[in-house]
């Protein structure tokens, strides 16, 4: 019998010369990706984990048991009920956005498992697919039963099956990143940019937020997922090295494109969770501090490692750290019934904290929160007044990222209109327009929510849009978690009287 050291390299590197078909028929460029290179250029593809299937199963079993043990100990409904209200809503955001996005990662990895250009790459992508399946199942297992506590947790299963505007944006992103992607772009965009650049570190950050919020179940879940990501994220690095060698301009384009596309979704999911949906006394850092310390430094090191330049929009991105997620949160609060989780207004103490962390543009954001608070003061608190403190006009969306046109600052929104092939498009920012113009055939036929309304595909009246198109109900649509009943607001009203 062969020893592990003898059979594993043989099993991992099982490539051969084809005699019945050409190599480009086995690995067509359209699905394997470009640049198309003969296998001789990929044969040195290597990663450091070199796991066997048996080792993989043993490791995953141990990890699953650890998650199960924590779930049994602290993951019951009565434990979740003790969590702070803002954090509970952060959980609803992740419960919806995470599981089925991970499932699209199964498909992307399976594409790599078949169309990756070296056997070792295909072996690792098979494990990657199993990882992502696990990352689908665990959050579904943990979050969906919380439906018994709160009907908004139904969105753990439901979110990606709806035409909710945020689901449209998330699907647009994951459809391109994973479901409809060739193996090379998938592994660079997912492993190098999304996982190494964002989620690997995001999960460390989220685990620390969860710990501060005493949510040990969520902390264990993201920690467990992160250990898988750290392994399978290695797939992308040797792919990027080879593409850099043969087509550095294309490699730079892929990294620039996907860093921006990731940033857009990441800043919403993580930015809102850190700066608004974690109780103020449980915030270990601001989102901007987290980005600077964890994401930006690491990304710059990755660029250096591969000999890549900073993306051309770097200064713009640095500026967005101060404002983009704040613009989104205030906009989303004022259209909260279009979402499936509840919101809180930052009170005076929080706004003081936010001003310290985001001095550059906070005055403009503070004016917005004053105005919203004023509306609650005028109509009075109460569930019956929710819609009196809610936007009525249709918000607008970017034709690339599909997110609200909330880029720039309150003084200067950076949205831009483009006429392309006789059709009008609007983009939230220059990078979104730049991505569109690089591959218009990929994006041009997709309709954002506004265009669906204008074409009659979606209802134009807000109540119908919420119920018939966004699949929300009065029970599940987002509300102010306190229905406007804040102690600081009452105190102001009393002093005004």
């Amino acid at each position: 019998m062969l020893s592990r050291e003898e059979w594993l390299p043989l099993a991992r590197k099982l490539d051969w010369t084809y005699s019945y078909v050409r190599e480009d028929e086995v690995f067509p460029e359209v699905i394997s990706g470009r640049p198309w290179l003969p296998h001789s250029e990929w044969k040195d593809w290597e990663e450091s984990f070199k796991t066997s299937y048996r080792e993989y199963v043993d490791n995953q079993y141990e990890k699953d048991m650890a998650v199960q043990a924590v779930h049994d100990a602290v993951g019951r409904i009565e434990n979740v009920q003790k969590l702070a209200l803002p954090w509970l809503n952060s959980l609803k955001v992740h419960a919806a956005a995470l599981p089925l996005a991970e499932f699209t990662g199964v498909i992307g990895n399976l594409r790599g498992a078949r169309f990756g250009r070296d056997s070792a790459w295909r072996t690792m992508a098979t494990f990657g697919a199993l990882d992502e399946y696990r990352h689908t199942q665990i959050p579904l297992l943990l979050f969906h039963p919380l439906l018994r506590l709160d009907s908004q947790f139904d969105w753990a299963h439901k979110f990606y099956h709806t035409n909710n505007w945020f689901a449209v944006a998330a699907r647009h992103f994951f459809d391109e990143l994973t479901l409809g992607q060739n193996a090379i772009e998938f592994h660079i965009a997912t492993n190098v940019v999304l996982e190494t650049g964002f989620t690997n570190l995001q999960f460390v950050g989220l685990a620390s937020l969860a710990r501060e919020s005493s949510d040990h179940m969520f902390e264990r879940m993201v920690t467990s997922i992160q250990t898988d990501e750290a392994r399978h994220a290695q797939i992308g690095h040797p792919v990027l090295t080879t593409v850099m060698k043969h087509d550095p301009k294309y490699a730079q384009y892929l990294v620039d494109k996907w860093f921006w596309r990731n940033w857009r979704l990441f800043s919403i999911l993580t930015g809102l969770s850190i700066d608004y949906l974690t109780a103020p006394d449980q915030r270990p850092y601001s989102f901007k501090e987290f980005m600077e310390e964890w994401i930006i430094d690491q990304f710059l090191r990755t660029l250096d490692e591969f000999g890549l330049e900073k993306p051309w929009y770097w200064d713009l991105l640095m500026d967005e750290l101060d404002i983009y997620h704040h613009m989104i949160y205030a906009s989303a609060y004022s259209y909260r019934a279009t979402l499936w989780f509840n919101f809180v207004i930052p009170g005076p103490a929080e706004r003081k904290w936010l001003r310290q962390k985001y001095l550059k543009y906070w005055d403009d954001m503070d004016a917005v929160w004053e105005q919203i608070s004023e509306r609650w003061r005028t109509v009075g608190p109460g569930a019956e007044n929710e819609l009196a403190v809610h936007g009525t006009a249709m918000p607008t969306f970017c034709d690339l990222c599909q997110l609200p046109l909330s880029a720039g600052t309150p003084r200067k929104n950076t949205a831009r209109v483009l006429v392309h092939d006789g059709r009008k498009y609007i983009f939230c920012s220059e990078p979104c327009q730049w991505i569109f113009l690089h591959e218009p055939e990929r994006y041009a036929n997709h309709k954002d929510v506004v265009k669906r309304v204008l074409s009659g595909e979606a209802p134009g009246q807000l109540p119908n849009l919420l119920t018939e198109y966004f699949n929300l109900t009065p029970d599940t649509w987002g509300k102010d978690a306190h229905h406007g009943d804040y102690e600081w607001l009452r105190a102001r009203k009393d002093s005004a009287a």
């Binding site: 906009s331 004022s334 403009d364 249709m394 909330s406 009008k424």
Partner: protein
């Protein structure tokens, strides 16, 4: 004739879809946007409508200003 436009009010956090009439003056158009955004931005008395970086005459109609479906207009202070 109704003309859907992208409206951006200075001080606001999101662009809004404003259903204008091509006979609306730009003053009326500005008012429509201010009302639509009033949850987040207190309405102001003195505002101007800006299209393609040019301040427009408020008495012009949407049609005269050359605004067509899905164009952008801005409403700014002053």
């Amino acid at each position: 004739m109704p003309v859907p436009l992208y409206g951006f009010l200075e001080g606001d956090t999101v662009g809004l879809l404003i259903l204008a009439d091509d006979g609306d003056t730009l003053e009326v158009l500005a008012q429509k946007l201010q009302v639509a955004a009033s949850l987040r931005v207190a309405p102001r008395h003195r505002v101007r409508v800006v299209c393609n970086d040019k301040t427009m005459d408020p008495t012009m109609t949407v049609a005269q200003a050359g605004l067509q479906a899905l164009d952008r207009f801005d409403v700014r202070s002053g």
